[in-house]
Structures are given as structure tokens and as C-alpha cells.
């Protein structure tokens, strides 16, 4: 069973329980933060210690340990750590839910880590649901009308989605005869263009499953939930949804696709074209609707949908260029660049709304005169999301676009470049509001140490990865090794 290879996950689960116990029996509230940060750091250390182990299956093939899984584990743990650091002031707005907030955040991270390592239908379903159910409760935590409404939308749509996903998985199980990804791949490999009618059940199952993943990453026909949920949720949870939850969906989409379709060239090429079209629609819809937004969280939600479109370019390239390791490493680079930029932008919003919501873009007028450092951090994050050199986001986009152009997706690259230009309009609109407009009050925005630390880490990351992309490139290349046939 070698369950000891799941040490980071076990550590995180124990921490989640410990956080609830500390919250219950101890009156000192900051001890909860310390416990969860310590647990995350311990889990990061254990994940680092896993590096160098040979690829192996865990728990009779339920999970798998490969570089790809370890890379995502570290990414999720890092983002969760930054989210917890950034929200130390914000959680004071949830007075009685301090422990629950941290515990559920940890279980959601746990689910995401397991999702990236899942190699079996059962494990995959349970890990996805662990993240989703934790997030349903977290979205409702603010207890105002907006938060409540977004939670109702999220759980009803999310539950319909998990039913669709389960139905698809049941069909795949029935027509392939196993829950293991490897056996499913063998069954899928018998499908050819000529005999599609004989495999209608299996194909229908695959389509439903892919629709389920598309909901998770908010790709276009299934994106409508995202802006509503992002707007109403507590801001740290919005950050968590747009990074960890989305990246977890993307990681399992990539693994499932590359494992299950690896032997069927014709099928995966057609799938690649479909993914390319979905990607083009996703980025265009996200960017065009973002232009009209006044609420900053809603605007960032649409921007995050557009970013999903850019990420799907990589998935399409991986499908068309037949799972080249280079395209996976591009995705891994892009995801880190995207995540740290989101952390930088959202941390400023979290810091600014420590007492009451500061959701309107005009609330940030003249932020540069009130708190120049916060303004600099937010500007860096926005410019990196936009893809301006020499920031991390530029290198991410550069790698993705050049790879796509080399693999015959030039039309998609053209659409993506036009989209980047459109996105410059609304990102720069916020930057202009921050630097040019007159502030409503001259008071500096109060910050404590931990959120500043989160900002420092993310801004350093944005600059460092933009100037020295080789730093992360090595790690991304290392992480792009999937165990395909274990």
C-alpha cells in the first residue's frame, strides 16, 4: 500500500483536525493561524522530501507519485500558505468562524493535492468533492446577502456538475470495465474513427467527464457560475477559488486526457481542435465582458476566465502535438506565474477590505497616494496578468504562445494576442485609477506583518520569474514527467 508516500496529505489532514481542536479549547485566536501555517510548512517539507522517489502507485493504484503530482502539491501548499498569510486581518470579520475558516481551507487544499495525484476514478471523484464541499461552506462564510446568494448558486450548480461528472464516470467504468486510468486508456485505445458508433457509450461518458472538468476551470459554456461566486465569496476564498480550485481542475484534466487518450492519435487530435475552439471562446468571452465591469472582484473573475482560456491553449497543444513534455512544462510555468500575480492583486484587495468590503474599482482611487507600496504591488500583479515584460506573466505567455505557434495553432495565437491587447484596456484602467485619481481620504491603509509578507513573496516572485525564467523553467521541466503507464 505504501501509504507513507502520502505524508504531506496526512500531515495536512492532521493539521486540519488540530486547528479545530485549538479553536475549540484555546482562547488565543492567533494560535489557530500559527497552527495552520506550521502544518502547511511541515507539509511542504514532507512534499520536498518526496522528491527523488521513483514513480510508484500508492494504495493499490488509487493515487500515483510522480514529478507532476509533487510539483502540483508544492504549488497548492504554497498558494494556501500565501492565502492564509494574506487573510490574517480579514478573518477578524468572521469572528466565530476563525477555526472553521482555516480548517476548511486546509481540507480544500488537501483535496486539490489529492486531485493532482489521483490515478483512479474513485480517488479522483472523492478528491474533487473534498475540495468542492469545503469551498461551498467557505463561500457562505461572510453571512451577508451577497455571500449567501453566491453560496446558493455555487452549491446548486456544483452539485449538478458533480452528478454529471459521476454519470460520465459511471459510463466510462461500465464500458471500460475498470476504475483505473491505465485500464481506461487501454479501452479508449480501441476506438478508431471507423468504429465510433460501437463505442458510443464510452465516448458519451468521456464527453460528460470533460464537461465536468470544464465547469471546474470555468471554461466557456460552463463559466457562468464563476463571476457570481467570486463576487459574493469572502475575498481570500475568491483568491483560493481562482487559483487552487481552478489549477486542481486543470491538473486532473491534463492527466486524465494524456493518460486516457494516449494511444488514439485520431481521437486526441480531434479533441485538441475542440479544446482550441473552447479556449478561443473562453478568452474572448472573458476579456470582452470584463471591460464593462465596475466591481473589482467581478472584473478579476472575468479576467480569470480569460486566463483559463490561455491555459487551455496548452492543453490543446498537448493534445495536438501528442503530449509533448515541453507543452506540459509550459503549462506548469504559466500556472505559477498566474498564481503569484493573482496572489499579489487579491492580497491588496484583502488588506483594503479588512473592515468592510472595498469592491468597487473607484474605492481604489488614489491608492498610490495613500499607501504607495500596496499600489506598487497591485500594479505589478495587474501588469503581470496582462503579460507585460519583464514580468513573470510575460514569460508565461511567451512560452505558451510560441509553443502553440510551432504546433500549427497560429490562428489561436493570433486570437490570444488580440485578446491580450483587449485585456490591457481593463487592467490599465485599474492602474490609472490607482495612480491618477484623487483619493477619497488621505489615510494610509492599515496592514499587519503577515499580509505584507505575502505581498513581498508574490512581488519578488513576479519580478524574479520575469527576469530569470530559467529558475522555474528547470523545475517545470522536472515536473512535466507524468507516470503514464504505471
Amino acid at each position: 500500500m505504501n501509504l507513507d508516500m502520502l505524508r504531506p496529505e496526512i500531515c495536512l489532514a492532521v493539521t486540519a483536525v488540530a486547528v479545530i481542536a485549538v479553536d475549540l479549547f484555546c482562547r488565543i485566536k492567533w494560535l489557530v493561524n500559527i497552527t495552520s501555517v506550521a502544518g502547511l510548512l511541515a507539509s511542504i517539507c514532507m512534499a520536498l522530501l518526496l522528491i527523488g522517489n521513483s514513480e510508484q502507485s500508492i494504495g493499490n493504484g488509487l493515487f500515483i507519485l510522480d514529478n507532476y503530482a509533487i510539483y502540483f502539491k508544492l504549488l497548492f501548499l504554497g498558494i494556501a500558505l500565501l492565502v492564509i498569510l494574506a487573510s490574517t486581518d480579514y478573518v477578524k470579520r468572521l469572528p466565530k468562524l476563525h477555526g472553521e475558516f482555516h480548517a476548511l481551507l486546509l481540507t480544500a487544499t488537501l483535496g486539490a493535492m489529492l486531485t493532482a495525484a489521483a490515478h483512479d476514478i474513485i480517488a479522483m471523484l472523492l478528491s474533487i468533492e473534498l475540495t468542492a464541499i469545503s469551498l461551498y461552506a467557505l463561500v457562505a462564510m461572510l453571512k451577508n446577502t451577497k455571500s449567501n446568494e453566491s453560496a446558493v448558486k455555487y452549491i446548486l450548480l456544483g452539485a449538478v456538475n458533480s452528478a454529471v461528472l459521476l454519470f460520465g464516470l459511471a459510463l466510462i467504468f461500465g464500458f471500460s470495465g475498470s476504475t483505473s486510468f491505465t485500464t481506461i486508456a487501454a479501452a479508449v485505445s480501441t476506438i478508431q474513427v471507423g468504429n465510433i458508433a460501437d463505442h458510443a457509450g464510452l465516448l458519451f461518458g468521456l464527453v460528460l467527464t470533460l464537461a465536468g472538468f470544464a465547469f471546474k476551470i470555468a471554461a466557456v459554456p460552463f463559466h457562468m457560475w464563476a463571476p457570481d461566486v467570486y463576487e459574493g465569496a469572502p475575498t481570500p476564498i475568491t483568491l483560493f477559488l481562482s487559483t487552487v480550485s481552478k489549477i486542481a481542475g486543470l491538473s486532473i484534466l491534463m492527466r486524465f486526457m494524456l493518460t486516457a487518450f494516449i494511444q488514439t492519435d485520431s481521437l486526441i487530435n480531434n479533441l485538441g481542435i475542440i479544446l482550441a475552439i473552447v479556449s478561443a471562446l473562453t478568452m474572448t468571452a472573458g476579456n470582452l465582458i470584463a471591460i464593462t465591469q465596475h466591481n473589482i472582484k467581478r472584473l478579476l473573475a472575468y479576467s480569470s476566465i480569460a486566463q483559463s482560456g490561455y491555459m487551455l491553449i496548452v492543453v490543446a497543444v498537448a493534445a495536438i502535438g501528442l503530449h509533448s513534455a515541453a507543452s506540459i512544462s509550459n503549462l506548469l510555468y504559466y500556472l505559477v506565474a498566474f498564481a503569484i500575480a493573482e496572489v499579489a492583486v487579491f492580497s491588496v484587495i484583502i488588506i483594503a477590505s479588512r473592515n468592510a468590503d472595498m469592491d468597487d474599482i473607484s474605492d481604489y482611487a488614489g491608492l498610490a497616494k495613500r499607501s504607495p507600496l500596496l499600489a506598487c504591488a497591485m500594479t505589478l500583479g495587474l501588469l503581470s496578468l496582462m503579460g507585460l515584460p519583464p514580468l513573470a506573466g510575460f514569460m508565461g505567455k511567451f512560452f505558451v504562445f510560441s509553443q502553440a505557434a510551432q504546433n500549427g495553432l497560429l490562428w489561436l495565437v493570433l486570437i490570444a494576442v488580440v485578446n491580450s491587447v483587449i485585456s490591457a484596456y481593463y487592467y490599465l484602467k485599474i492602474v490609472r485609477t490607482i495612480w491618477m485619481d484623487a483619493p477619497a481620504s488621505a489615510d494610509a491603509v492599515k496592514t499587519s506583518l503577515a499580509p505584507k509578507l505575502a505581498l513581498l513573496i508574490s512581488c519578488t516572485g513576479i519580478l524574479l520569474l520575469g527576469i530569470l525564467p530559467a529558475l522555474l523553467n528547470k523545475a517545470a521541466e522536472w515536473g512535466s514527467f507524468l507516470a503514464l503507464w504505471n
Binding site: E129, E149, A151, K153, I155, L156, V160, A163
Partner: protein, 103 residues
């Protein structure tokens, strides 16, 4: 007439269709949750039928059904909790009133 795999599959697809139609067309949040349960149970029937009528790995499907019970129960309990807070605020659970956040 013998009852075989096909009958179960037809039943499962019908149940799933009814559930999906209900989830998309009903306005009462509790009824929507019930329709989602129908969809989940359609998948469960399918899994058990496949386990019974196909030769290989019989217990994988049944094990998955057990896990699905737990997931469905967790999902519905969180869902009901959220709907109760919604009811306290609005005094009804008509999802046509979920209209604060749009575009």
C-alpha cells in the same frame, strides 16, 4: 422476459434525464436538491448494474457506489445548511429571488 443490463441502463438514463430536467426547470431549492439526488442515484444504479453484469473487477463499481453515498450525503447536508441561511434572510426559497448578482 429476462431483466438484463439494458433494462437497468435505460432506467438509469431515464432517471438521469428526469433529474437534469427537474434541476434546470424547478424553482424550489429543495426540489432542485431532490432532482440532483435523482441524478446521483441514476449513476449509482448504472454502476451497480455494470458491476453485476460485466465479468471483470466486480467490486470496483460497488465500492464506488458506497463512496457516492457519502459524497451525496455530505453535499446535501452542506446544501441544506446554506438553503436554511437563505430562508432566514428572505423568508422563502424560491431561486427566482437569487438575483442580486448578475452580469
Amino acid at each position: 422476459m429476462d431483466i438484463g443490463l439494458t433494462h437497468y441502463l435505460v432506467l438509469a438514463v431515464l432517471l438521469f434525464g428526469i433529474g437534469l430536467y427537474g434541476a434546470l426547470s424547478r424553482r424550489h431549492a429543495i426540489v432542485i436538491l431532490m432532482c440532483i439526488e435523482l441524478m446521483l442515484n441514476a449513476a449509482n444504479i448504472m454502476l451497480v448494474a455494470f458491476s453485476k453484469y460485466t465479468a471483470y473487477h466486480q467490486f470496483d463499481g460497488q465500492a464506488l457506489v458506497m463512496f457516492c453515498f457519502v459524497v451525496a450525503a455530505a453535499e446535501v447536508s452542506v446544501g441544506l445548511a446554506i438553503i436554511i441561511t437563505f430562508y432566514r434572510r428572505r423568508k422563502n426559497i424560491d431561486i427566482r429571488d437569487v438575483n442580486l448578482l448578475k452580469w
